[in-house]
Amino acid sequence: MTLRLGTDRPLLVPFLTGGVTADWTDYLLAYQEAGADAIEVGLPFSDPMLDGTTIQQASDQALTRGATVEAILHELAAIRGRLRVPIIVMAYANLVLKVGIERLAQAGVSGLIVSDLPLEESAELESAAAAAGIDMILLVAPVTPDDRLRQICLRSQGFVYAVSVMGVTGERTTLAPEAEALARRAKLLLTEPGVDGSHAGSRDDENPVQRLPVLIGFGVSTPEQAAVAGRAGDGVVVGAALMRRVLDGASPADLRREVGALRAALDQGVSTATPYAEISGDRG
């Protein structure tokens, strides 16, 4: 199953570290109920070199309680009947190369993001993903030059993941200004003739001219920031801000409210609530 995401409303993709708690799949269902368009599930890794403190802690917590990639995929497959939104796995290259794309497809995964697999190294995995029917979502960064950005937009499937900030994952007090500039550049490129719609697989056959959405991730921490990012791009990925709540012991019902606030802010283009107003300083 590949991703079929529209751009008619700002997209919301909340993140959860797989296996972070015993009831981790309940959070996925809560995200779905709160209006997630897709859910990103992070595979915990021993050496998360692109993650800030919060996701590192979540990864550590999952591994410490014995979470394995196999168990996570098993539990994901077990709730497929109740989970209607697409599942995107985010992982480091070493785990993906070990587990194999086919195994991810078996578990019902629709998309894959590999944080340390740039364009130069991704060809092999891209063809395996195409064979397995999984969308490979590629990342772009503020420092990605235009010619490279064009190549990535050409090859990315499902959406283009715009990394908002030069840094690791983690909460920030404001959305980095370069995020908006990057999303604008990517959107512009995606409307160029030949850049988008030229690759098969992830397109909606009935609407082949619709371009790939651009989602902003890394550091999107509050409904206000989500609203801004939702206007600049086509949606947001929110990770550390939610994972911090999970690590602090918040329940699936609590997270449903958090994600609901993000959903509302995105839909209205403004914030309706400020549950993170107390945050000051970089929690990255």
């Binding site: 050496d47 340390d116 990605t144 490279r148």
Partner: protein, 437 residues
């Protein structure tokens, strides 16, 4: 001689490949920085001005060339000719200075004002702090909390040199976690900061660049050995391997000869022996990991070898058969360190003692028959390990206990320049090879 031995150690293929190993597995955010570094290094390495500058600092600051010391006494005991390349005599006490002088000069050439570095034993951290002080750069060194406890003196040295040492408290709190943290900091500070990586690991161009900066070990040794041995090249070249930078630099000087290349790993951190193919810290290589790809912790008495991965070029040299990789245990290392100290008056680093331990074990066997000529790179000196070794009972046993273990050669009173004709080759004419005859 196989084709592989004639080819030597070449520049990596496009994308930083050594066979199927290497590459650039980094976040998109770091791609421009890696590309810029590769370009800057290519440019500098072909610039005679840069090479002259580096040679100057190697000579006047680092004390190069380092000596080649025939280990006369140990040679006689073992029935081989053992020549030691003395990187322990280089400034800061190890080969690490070779790499950091190159990288710091390059960083300055690129307009960077700050170095960040990862360190395990602290040797690379001290070297990076030294180069930063010399070239007026700020330095931040990331070091696992556990290593900070083991190597308190090196932490003090780094501070004294003006560097900030940041404890890394995540994961196994050793070198691999320090490397993760340095990578994270590099992503966030890439504009003004150069990541001064300490080994032949990491994303392209690091494995290649660091090997080129360490090549000076092998090139000097090649010349020095040629003057010492009638055969010109030794039968065997041996060096310890953690990430593998001193071995890569040493091998680079001999890969195009018929010499056997031996890398010695710690039994508890032997990626070449026990590792499987994986991607860690930016390149595809061999790595200690479980079936799902979670990176394992290495365990060695030598903090500098406590690393679960190994440089991608070593993985390639091993796969192609050009180099052979072996392991020694912590116990063998302690015995070797003590024996080298008592026979040659050289206290080497625990890391370097791995290479010595293999030679001691292999000498007289099919692995290293009597009469063999051996070049061994002594990568560093043991000062940093003394506090740790004081608690090891074997280290404080009285000399008498050692005497009883001595082979006949030593007891017969063989001494440098003594009756067995153990003079330096240039004087004796027949060369140190006579030791073994």
């Amino acid at each position: 001689m196989t084709l592989a031995t004639q080819r030597g150690m070449r520049d990596p293929a496009t994308g930083g490949r050594f066979g199927s190993f290497g590459g650039r597995f980094v976040p998109e955010s770091l791609i421009p920085a890696c590309a810029a570094l590769e370009e800057a290094f290519r440019d500098a390495w072909t610039d005679p001005g840069f090479r002259q500058q580096l040679d100057l600092f190697r000579a006047v600051h680092a004390g190069r060339p380092t000596a080649l010391t025939p280990a006369w006494n140990l040679s006689a005991e073992l029935g081989i000719t053992l020549l030691l390349k003395r990187e322990d005599l280089a400034h800061t006490g190890s080969h690490k200075i070779n790499n950091v002088l190159g990288q710091a000069l390059l960083a300055r050439r690129m307009g960077k004002t700050r170095l960040i570095a990862e360190t395990g034993a602290g040797q690379h951290g001290v070297a990076a702090a030294t180069a930063a002080a010399l070239f007026g750069l700020r330095a931040t060194v990331y070091m696992g909390e556990r290593d900070i406890e083991r190597q308190a003196l090196n932490v003090f040295r780094m501070n004294l040199l003006g560097a900030e040492v940041v404890p890394v408290t995540t994961g196994s709190r050793t070198l691999k976690d320090a490397t993760n943290e340095a990578m994270r900091q590099w992503v966030a500070n890439v504009d003004d900061t150069h990541f001064c990586l300490g080994s032949v690991a990491g994303p392209h161009p690091y494995p290649w660049m660091v090997r080129e900066f360490q090549r000076v070990i092998g090139e000097e040794a090649r010349r020095q050995v040629a003057a010492e041995l009638p055969t010109g090249v030794p039968d065997v070249v041996v060096a310890c391997v953690g990430g593998g930078s001193n071995a890569a630099g040493t091998f680079a000087g001999f890969a195009d000869t018929g010499a056997r290349l031996i890398g010695v790993e710690a039994a508890g951190g032997a990626a070449m022996t026990d590792g499987t193919v994986g991607v860690v810290h930016g390149s595809r290589s061999l790595v200690l990991q479980n079936a799902e790809g979670q990176i394992a912790e290495a365990h060695s008495i030598a903090a500098g070898l406590d690393y679960p991965g190994v440089g991608p070029e070593h993985a390639h040299l091993g796969e192609s058969g050009r180099a052979q990789y072996v392991t020694v245990s912590d116990d063998e290392v302690l015995i070797a360190l003590k024996r080298l100290a008592r026979t040659e008056g050289i206290i080497c680093a625990l890391e370097s003692a791995h290479a010595v331990a293999w030679v001691m074990r292999a000498a007289g066997t099919d692995e290293l028959p009597h009469g063999s000529t051996v070049l061994l790179t002594l990568s560093g000196r043991g000062d940093k390990d003394m506090a740790q070794l004081q608690d090891q009972p074997i280290m404080t046993e009285p000399p008498a206990g050692l005497q009883a273990d001595l082979p006949a050669g030593r007891q017969a009173g063989l001494q440098p320049g003594g009756q067995a004709g153990l003079q330096p080759g240039r004087q004796a004419g027949a060369g140190a090879g006579r030791v073994a005859s």
